[in-house]
Symmetry: D2
Subunit: 417 residues, 4 copies
C-alpha cells in the first residue's frame, strides 16, 4: 500500500483536466480521495485541487504519478525532487528507463533549478548538458554514447495544454472532420492568424503535397510566397517535380493545366523535368541558369524561402535537392521549425504526420485535406493541436489569397449578408 | 443447336460496342463467327459487322439475342418481328415475362411500324395503347389490370449510347472519381453547357442536399435561380427546412452562417421554422404572407421554378410541401423531368440516385460531391451517363456563378497563364 | 440585470457536466460565480455544485436556464415551478413556443407532481393529457388542434446522460471512427450485450441495408434470427428485394452469390422478384404460398420477427409490404422501438439516421459500416449514444454469429494468446 | 505532310486495342484510314489491322508512332529500324531524349536482333551493354556517365497487355473499388493463386502496413509465413516496431491486443521496444539473443523470409534494420522483386505505391485496404494490373488463412449453399 498527495491547479475544471486526472487514477487501478477543491469563482480565476492517491504497490503509485504528471498533477512533496540522469550506453541508444517526451512544454529540475527543456518534441529523450545547465530534447538516432539522459519521471514537470474554451475564432474546428460547415469564416480566421503572425515578424510553415499542382492551386501558393506569407516550405520530390514540370512544359502529370487535354507524351514530362534539373545540378542552379522561370520553387528561390524536400521510396529521380536519407531530412526539418508560429498542412498525409511529429504542441496547426481520414490520422498520432478543414485545396487557397490581398477588407465574409 | 446472324452498325469500333458484344456472347456460353466487318475508313464513317451466333439451345440463343440487343445488335431477320403484348394480370403487377426497360432510347414494332417508346426510364415495363399506336414506359406501381404490356424481347430495339471519343469538353470526367484534377476547367465546361441549354430555351434540373445550406452555398444557388439557370429543383425536407431556418433565423442547424457561433437554442430553430411554415400552410403561402423573404425557396417562388420536395423517413415535421408518399413523389419527379436537358446533382446521395433512376440516358448529368463514394454509387446503379466531380460544393457553386455572370468572359481560366 | 442560483448534482465532475455547464453560461453571454462545490471523495460518490448566474436581462437568464437544463442544472427555486401548456392552434401545428424535446429522460411538473414523459424522442413536443395525469412526446405531424402542449422551459427537467467512465467494455468505441483497432474484442462485447439482453427477455432491433445481401452476409443474419437474437427488423425495399431475389434466383443485383458470374439477364432478377411478390400479395403471402423458401424475410416470418419496410424515393416496385408513406413508416417504427434494449445498425445511412432520430438516448446503439462517414453523421445528428465500428459487415456478422453460437466460449478471443 | 502504315495484330478487338489506337491517332491531331481488317473468326483467333497514318508534319508523325507503339502498333517498315543509343552526359543524368520505359515487356533492336529488356520497370531508361548484347532498365539515380542509353522511339517494341476477357477468376475485381460485393469468393481466388504459385516454387511478396498489427491481424500473417506462403516482405519501420512492441509488451500503440485497455504508459512501449532492438543491434540479433520470441519478424527470421524495411520521415527511432536512405531502399526492393509471381499489398499506401512503381506489369497484384482511395491511387499511378479489394484487413487475412490451411477444401464457399 502506497499513498501520496498530488496537487493540480489552473483552469482545471473548465479545461477538463481534473476529470481526466481522476479518470486516469481509477483506470490505472489506484484509488483517490479529493481532499480539497477550490473552484475559481469566476471564469478567469484559477482552481486548485488536492487529491490523495492510494495504490496497492509503490510501483503502481509511481506509474500513476508518471501518468498524471502529463496533466500537470504533481505530488505536493515533489517540488524538491531532482531529475535523475544516466549516460547513454551506446550511440543511438538511450538508457533503458529514459524519460519519453511529449510535445508539451516541459521542465526538469537539476541542482534545485527548474530548467525549461529546449525544442519540445514528442517521443524523444531529454539530454542534460555536462554542466547541468541546460536540457534539450534528443531524437533517438542522435544520442551519443555517454550523453546524459533523464531517466524515470522524478524531477520532470509538464505544462498541460489548458484547452481554452473556444470563443470566436476556430470554434468550429473542434469538430474537425465535418464536411458540412460554412468554411468561408474558418478560412478568414486562418488569414487573420497569418496576418498577425507576419505583423509580429513570426514564421509561417507550409507543408504541401503534389495535389496542389495537379489541382491548379500552385499559383495561389506562389502568390502567398510572393506576398511574404511563407517562410518555410516542407514537401517531397513530388510537389517539386510537378511544379517544375509545369514551369518547363505547362503540364502536371502530363496534363495541360490550362486546357483539359493530355500532352502528347506528357506522361514522360515529369521524368524529363527531373533529368534536366539533375543535369543543372539542382533547383537553385536551374533558377540561376534560367531553366526554371516560374512556379512555387522559382518563387521560393527568389524570395529566399527555406525549403526542405524530404525523400520517400516512391520518388522518381529524385531531384538533386531531395534529402534522400530520412533521418537527415527529419533533422533538417527540425532545424527549420525553430521559431515557427503557424503551420499550414495541405493535401499531404506523409509530410503532415512527419511534421506533426516534431512540432511543439504550442504551434498553431491547421490541416487541410479533401479526405477526412488525413485529419483524423494526424490528431490520432498526437498532434492534438491540429485543427482540420475538410475541403478542396484549390478553392481553399484561392479564397485564402483573396483574404490576404493587401487591400482586402478584414470584415468577415457574409457579415453584411 | 440454334443459329442466327446478327448485325451491328454505327461507330461500333471506336465506341467499343463490337468488342462488348463479342464478350457478351462468349460469356453467355454461346459461340460466334465474324462473317464480315467493314470498318469506317475515317473517324466520321460508320462501321458494320455481321456475326453468326451459335448456341446450344434455342433458349440460350434467345437469351443471347436479348442481351446483345441492348447494344444495338439485331438479328438480320428481326426487322420483321413484332412485339408481343399481354394484359397485366392485376393492378400493380406486370405479366410474368414483361420486357424490363433500360434508360436508353427504345423502339417497339407493332403492326409493322417501329414506335419510339415515350419517356425512356430504366426498370419499367412498356405499355402499348389499346389502339396500338403509342408505347410508353410504365413504372410497376402504375400498371392497371388489363393494360397491354410488352413481353419477351421480340420486336424491341434499343439504340445504344455510342460513347463518343472525348475531345475537349468533359474529357477528364471519364476518370470521374479522382480528387486530384484541375477542376476550374470542368466547372467552366459545366457553365458553358448551362449557357447553351438556356440559349436554346432548354430546361436545367438541380438536385440538391441540405449540405448546400450548411456550407453557405445557398446564396450561389439563389443567384443561379435569379439568373434563370434553374427550371426545376428536386430536394428533400432538409434542404427546404435549413434554407427557411436561415431565412427566418439566420442560422443553419442552429449555426449562424455569418458568424461562427451557435445560436442560443439554435438547435431548435429548424423545428420552429417548420412549425411556422406548417401554420402558414406551406412555402408559397409563407412567401405570400411575407414570412419568408429570402433564400432558395423564396427565389423559386418568385421566379416560378418548379420544385419537388420528396419525403424521407428521417424528416422532421415535415414542411407541408413535402410529398410524403414516396410513390407520389417519384411520379411528380417523373412529370418534372420531361424536357430536362441538363441535370446537376449536388451534395445528396438519396435524391441523386432517385433522380438518376428516372432520367433517360440522354440527359447530360453531372454529380458533385466531396465524397467520391456518392459518384461511384450513382454510376454503379445504371446512371452511366453521370459525370462526377469530387469537390466541395460551396466553392464549386461560387465558381460556377462567376462563369455564368452576364459579363463573364467565356475565355478559359488560366488560358493566358 | 437578472440573477438566480442553480444546482447540479451527480457525477458532475467525472462526467464532465460541470465544466460543460460553466462553458455554456459564458458562451451565452452570462456570468457565473461558483458558490459551493462538494466533490465526491470517492469515485462512487456524487458531487454537488451551487452556481450563481448573472445575466444582463431576464430574457437572457431564461435562455441560459433553458440551455443548462439540458445538462440537469436546475434553479434552486425551480422545484416549485409548474409546466405551462397551450392548446395546439391547428392540426399538425404546435403552439409557437412549444418545448422541443431531447432524446433524454424528461420530467414535467404538473399539479405539483413530476411526471415522466413517455417515449423520449428528440425534436418532438410534449403533450399533456386533458386530465393532466400523463405526458408523452408527440411528433409534429400527429398533433391535433386543441391538444395541450408544453410551452417554455419552466417545469421541465431533463436527466443528463452521465457518461460513465469507460471501463472494460466498449472502451475503444469512444474513438469511434478509427479503422485501426483490434475489432475482435468489440464484436465479443456486442455478443455479450446481445446475450444479456436476451437472457433478460429484452428486445433487439436490427437495422440493415441491402449491402448485407450483396456482400453475402444475409445467411449470418438468418442465423441470428433463427437463434432468437432479433426481435425487430427495420429496413427498406432494397434489403427485402435483394433477399427475395436471392431466395428466388440465387442472385443479388444479378450476381450469383456463390459464383462470381453475373447471371444472364440477372439485372432484371430484382424486378421479376418484386413482380412475383406483388402478384402473391406480399411477403407473408409469398411465404405461405411456398414462393419464398429461404432468406432473411423467410426467417422473419417463420420466427415471428416484426419487420418494418420503410419506403424511399429510390425504390423499384416496391414490394407490397413497403410502407410508402414516410410518416406512416416513421410511426410504425416508433411503435416497434418500444421496449428495445439494444439496436444494431448495419450498412445503411438512411435507416440508421431515421432510427437514431426516434430512439431514446438510453438504448445502447452500435452502428457498423465500412464507411466512417456514416458513423460520424449519426452522432452529429444527435444519436450521441451510438458507438461506431468501421468494418466490413460480412466478416463482422460472421464473427458475431460465432460468438453467439450456443456452445461458444464466453472467453475473450486472444485471451490465451 | 507525312504518311506511314502501321500494323497491329493480336486480340486487338476484344482486348480493345484497336479502338484505343484509333482514338489516340485522332486525339494527337493526326488522321487515319483503315486499309484492312481481318477479324479472327473465333474468340481464340487473332485479328490484324493495317492502318494508314497521315500527320501534318514528320514531327507529329513521330509522336503518334511513339504513342501507338505502347499499344503494340508498329510501322510496317519498322522491323528493320535499330535503336539509337547515346552516352549518359553525367552520373545520374540521362541523355536528353532518353526513352522512358513502361512496366510492360519491352524489346529493343540492336545489331539486327530484338533483345528483351531485363527487369521491366516504369519510368526508367534502357541501358545497353557496351557489347550491345543485353539491355536492361536503369533507374535515373543509377546511371553513370558514359552508360549507353536508348534515345528516341525507333527500334523499341512494347508488348501490350492484352486484357483477357475475365472469366471465372477475379472477374469482379474489374470494378475494383466497390465495397458491396461478396468477397469470400475473391479471397478464395487469391488463396488458389497463392497455392498455385507455391506449387510451382514461385515467390510471393507481401507488402504490409502497421494497421496489420493494430487490428490484430499479425497472427494471420505469422501463420502464412510459417506455412511457406511468404517469400519476401516489404514494410516500413512502423510494422516492425508495432510487431516487436507486441512481442515485447503485448501491446500495439500501447493497447493490449487481447484486452481492450490501454497499457499503463503504453504509449511509450513502441519507443522502448525500438530502444531495446537498437541496443541489441537489430532484429536478427534480437531474435538470436532471445529478446524477440514471437510475431511477424520472429517468424521471418526463423523461416528465412527476406524482408526490406524502408525508411520514411515519420519514423521513430528507427530500428537498425530500417534502410533510411530511400534510394538504397528502392534498390533493395528492386533486388527482391526479381522472380516474384504474386504480390499482396495490405493496409499501406506508401509501400504499395512504391512497390507498384517497380513491379513489372506481369506480376499479379492484389491490393487490400478498407479505404477505396488507396486502390484508386495505385492504379492511377500506372500499376494498372493491380486488383483492389476494399475490406478490413484482419478478417481478410483470417479468411485467407482458413482457405490455405493444409486440410482446407478447395471447394468454393457457398457452393453448396
Amino acid at each position: 500500500m502506497a499513498r501520496t498527495v498530488i496537487e493540480i491547479s489552473g483552469h482545471i475544471i473548465d479545461s477538463l483536466i481534473l476529470p481526466k486526472v481522476l479518470d486516469l487514477i481509477v483506470n490505472l487501478g489506484a484509488d483517490f480521495e479529493v481532499l480539497e477543491v477550490e473552484v475559481g469563482k469566476r471564469r478567469a480565476d484559477r482552481s486548485r485541487a488536492l487529491i490523495q492517491l492510494d495504490a496497492g504497490t509503490p510501483e503502481l503509485l509511481g506509474q500513476v504519478l508518471a501518468k498524471v504528471k502529463e496533466h500537470g498533477a504533481v505530488p505536493v512533496d515533489a517540488e524538491s525532487e531532482t531529475a535523475r540522469v544516466e549516460p547513454a550506453p551506446a550511440d543511438g541508444v538511450f538508457p533503458e528507463h529514459f524519460y519519453a517526451t511529449t510535445n508539451l512544454l516541459t521542465r526538469v529540475r537539476l541542482n534545485r533549478d527548474w530548467l525549461e527543456v529546449e525544442n519540445p518534441e514528442m517521443d524523444c529523450g531529454i539530454q542534460i548538458t555536462a554542466r547541468g545547465d541546460a536540457a534539450r530534447t534528443l531524437p533517438m538516432h542522435r544520442v551519443q554514447k555517454g550523453d546524459l539522459i533523464v531517466v524515470g519521471h522524478g524531477g520532470v514537470k509538464v505544462a498541460p495544454m489548458e484547452r481554452r474554451v473556444p470563443r470566436e475564432g476556430f470554434e468550429f474546428m473542434s469538430s474537425s472532420v465535418s464536411t458540412e460547415q460554412p468554411k468561408g469564416l474558418l478560412i478568414h480566421e486562418i488569414a487573420d492568424t497569418m496576418r498577425r503572425v507576419r505583423e509580429a515578424r513570426g514564421k509561417i510553415l507550409m507543408v504541401a503535397g503534389p495535389g496542389l499542382v495537379h489541382t491548379g492551386a500552385a499559383r495561389h501558393l506562389v502568390e502567398l510566397i510572393e506576398s511574404g506569407y511563407v517562410q518555410v516550405l516542407f514537401a517531397g520530390n513530388g510537389l517539386a517535380v510537378h511544379d517544375i514540370e509545369s514551369a518547363l512544359f505547362g503540364t502536371s502529370l502530363g496534363v495541360y493545366l490550362d486546357k483539359k487535354v493530355r500532352a502528347r507524351e506528357g506522361h514522360e514530362h515529369h521524368l524529363r523535368a527531373i533529368n534536366r534539373i539533375r543535369r543543372a545540378g539542382g533547383i537553385r542552379q536551374a533558377v540561376a541558369q534560367g531553366i526554371i522561370r516560374s512556379g512555387i520553387f522559382y518563387a521560393c528561390v527568389q524570395k529566399g524561402v527555406e525549403f526542405v524536400l524530404a525523400g520517400s521510396i516512391r520518388d522518381d529521380g529524385p531531384l538533386p535537392d531531395v534529402v534522400t536519407d530520412t533521418l537527415k531530412a527529419q533533422d533538417l526539418m527540425r532545424e527549420n521549425i525553430r521559431g515557427v508560429d503557424f503551420a499550414l498542412m495541405m493535401a499531404t498525409t506523409l509530410h503532415a504526420i512527419a511534421t506533426g511529429n516534431i512540432l511543439p504542441a504550442t504551434v498553431k496547426t491547421v490541416c487541410v485535406d479533401i479526405n477526412p481520414a488525413v485529419v483524423t490520422k494526424l490528431t490520432d498520432r498526437g498532434t492534438f493541436q491540429a485543427m482540420g478543414l475538410v475541403t478542396d485545396v484549390e478553392p481553399f487557397l484561392r479564397e485564402l489569397c483573396q483574404y490576404l490581398k493587401p487591400g482586402a477588407s478584414t470584415r468577415r465574409p457574409g457579415a453584411a449578408g
